[in-house]
Each structure stands twice: as C-alpha cells, then as structure tokens.
Symmetry: C2
Subunit: 197 residues, 2 copies
DNA sequence: TTGACAAAACTAATATGATTAGGAAATATA
DNA sequence: TATATTTCCTAATCATATTAGTTTTGTCAA
C-alpha cells in the first residue's frame, strides 16, 4: 500500500500517543509505514512538519468535539461538557494533544487559524454569561489555564495521590463556574435594570 | 578554571533559560565550560543527569522562594503571594522551571523528596482554610493546575491577546481564592458551633 | 621534593536520528 | 506507448549522545 498523508497521520498519531510526542522519530515512522526513512521526505518536509500535521489534526478534532458536546447547551452545562470532553480527548490522545500545545509561527496561517477556531469555540461556550470586554479574555485564559494545567499534570503522572482525580477535576470545574457566575452577576443585574446597593 | 557541579549547573541553567530546556545539549554545555564534550562525563552521567540537576536546583529554589514570600502571611494573602512568586520564578527562569515539571522516577529518592517538599510548602499555604480530607487534595491539585497551566501557556506565547496578562492572572487567582473560601465556609461554621439552615 | 594515585581532560570511535543528493522504479497522463 | 511525475531507494553528511582508552594534572604522603 502506497504511503499518503492520511497514513502518515494515522501512524504518527499512534506512535505519538504510545511513546510520547518527543519519542516520535522519522525512523520509527518510516518503519511503521514500511518504507526507508529518506522516502518520507517525498511526503513531508521533516519531523517538524509531521508534528505540525498532528497539531492541525488534533486541533480540528478537538474543535469538532467541543462543538459537538456543547450543542443545545449553554452556561454552566456547556462549559462543563466542554471541559470534560477536552480532558477526555487529552487522556485518550496524549501525543496528539501534546502536539496541539505549541504556538504556531505567525507566518503559518493555516495552523494559526486552526488555533483561532478552537479558541472561538471555547469562547462561544462562555457566551451565555454575557461577559464584557477584558473579562471575556480573563475567563477564556482562565479556562485554558485550568484545563491545560490539570490535563498536563495528570498526563505526566504528577497527580499520584490516591484521591480520585475525577473528583478533583470536577471540583476545579465547579470553582471556575462559580467564578464565572460571580463575574456575570453584576452584569445581569445591570441588564435587567436592577442596580447594586 | 576547573569544571565542577556548580559551574555545570550555572551554565546549564543559563543555556536552558535562553534556548529552552530542549535546546540544551552536551555539546553546547561543554563549549560553555571550555572543555570537550566527552570530558563532561567525568562530572555527570549524561544529558538526563544534567536535567535532573536542574530540576533539583529549580525545585529547591522554588521551595525556598515559596516559603520566603509566605512568611507571616496566611489564608488568601499567603496563597496570593505564593502564586505570584511562582509565576515570577517561571518567567525569570523558563528553562529551569521546565526542568522542574517532569515527574521523577519512583526510584529516585532525592528528586522525589524535592518534589514532596515543594508540595508540602504549597500545602502549608492552604492551612488556614482548615480543609478536610480529600478537599485538601482537590485544592492543592487545583492550585497546581491553574498556576502551571497559566504559566506554561504564557511561556509558550499562547496568551497573545493585548489584554494585560497580569490582570488575567489576578482574576484567576482571585477565582481560586473564592473557591477556597466557599469550600472553607461550611467547615468554619461547624467549628464555631453554627449550623447551616 | 618527588612519586604515586585519583580526578579531569583528551582523542578516537560508535550509535542514532535528521536530512540531502542523486538515481531507479512505479505510476499517471498525454 | 512515450513521457512526465511521483515515490522510493541507496549512499552520504551532519549533529548529538555516549563509550573506550589514554594522557595530563592536581593532590598528598613519604
């Protein structure tokens, strides 16, 4: 069977998930595809290009998943669903998830757009809170920090205490939701004509 | 001047901070020390050993700093000081900070203890909230997730919106403090003899 | 002071991974 | 079917990590 980008993505994803993104090498990838290493260069520019493909793929899949699980939900329900799905993806695909983390170079429009699309989806899940201006950015950054932080600590084996990690994650999510609620409350009061004391 | 562990740590730290932990190589390190690469092996077992040294150094320094900035503080003041100092360290020493992230192998007592000591210090900063059982772990994991998440997104250049990052960090910290407060409140009520409705 | 021992440094060599050069084979297309 | 393109190959280069074996240097006691 001929090698094509689809198969490269498939094998690279598998290897990255099994051995870690850093463990992914052109040699192993070529071997998995039954060709010699230099032949890979007919398809991709190098190892960085392979990781970029993984990033594009991962970002698209994450975005699709985030959109899917938040359909018909809003407010806390949407955010909860999104965060749980995000964590689920990272746990199922640690290597691919790791590939989605680096910031693309400014010059790479395709990659940058993929990141932007995911950010837009995260942003959309916060819509119902009606946040204004900088608060939206704070909330979005908070959401990203918390989920990325938890998920990467979890992946690295840093959360080794016997206490259930699902519970800890739930606690963190609920804390975040409470903070959103608190930030949204005064806005809602204003919108409905009520004023604060 | 003769090479010793202190100089190795110094140069390795500088290189890691400037070029990133992944960019740190035995070649560059040897060059910085004015010796040939194989000569390094008289002092350290290999590149992994160098990174381990960086981790030990970073963990110790981080721990010392966390202890220092929380002296005489408790509750929200302690946690605020600690989180700001943590972020400050990671920003000033991105390479060394990165070295502190991996989880040590179980067999490495010295490294494991260094991690444990830092965890104990973080834990101590939460004392005043009087949390019970699993809640302590949830809070500790939340604290680690949030600060590690924010700091690593910041370091990777992922927070590129013009909105001030300090403000976003403050928002995140205050959100976390509010969650701690909320979790601690019922406990306090119980302790002072009051009961909930 | 000197001679022996250990530490630190060196050269040479090996292994692995990424990559380039240049050509052969397979495939698609005019 | 002839030709152009794509895919793959072998051979070679370069960088990094590491080991082997040897020389230099520093230390310390006789």
């Amino acid at each position: 069977m001929r090698v094509n980008l689809e198969r490269i993505l498939e094998e690279a994803g598998g290897l990255a998930n099994r051995r870690g993104l850093d463990g992914l090498s052109m040699n192993d990838l070529a071997q998995a595809l039954n060709i010699r290493t230099p032949s890979l260069y007919s398809h991709v520019a190098g190892i960085e290009a392979v990781k970029r493909l993984l990033a594009l793929h991962g970002l698209a899949e994450l975005d699709a998943m985030m959109s899917r699980v938040t359909i018909g939900k809003s407010g806390p329900d949407a955010v909860r669903a999104l965060l749980n799905a995000y964590r689920g993806f990272a746990r199922k695909n640690p290597g691919i998830y790791a590939a989605t983390i680096p910031t693309p170079p400014r010059s790479d429009r395709e990659w940058s757009s993929a990141v932007d699309r995911l950010m837009d989806t995260l942003h959309a899940s916060l819509q119902a809170y009606g946040l204004q201006g900088a608060e939206i950015i704070h909330a979005l950054r908070g959401l990203r920090s918390l989920v990325h932080g938890f998920v990467s600590l979890e992946a690295s084996g840093a959360l080794k205490h016997p206490v259930d990690r699902d519970e800890s994650f739930d606690w963190l999510v609920e804390s975040f939701l409470a903070a959103l609620e608190k930030m949204a409350a005064p806005l809602r009061a204003k919108q409905t004509g009520r004023t604060r004391a």
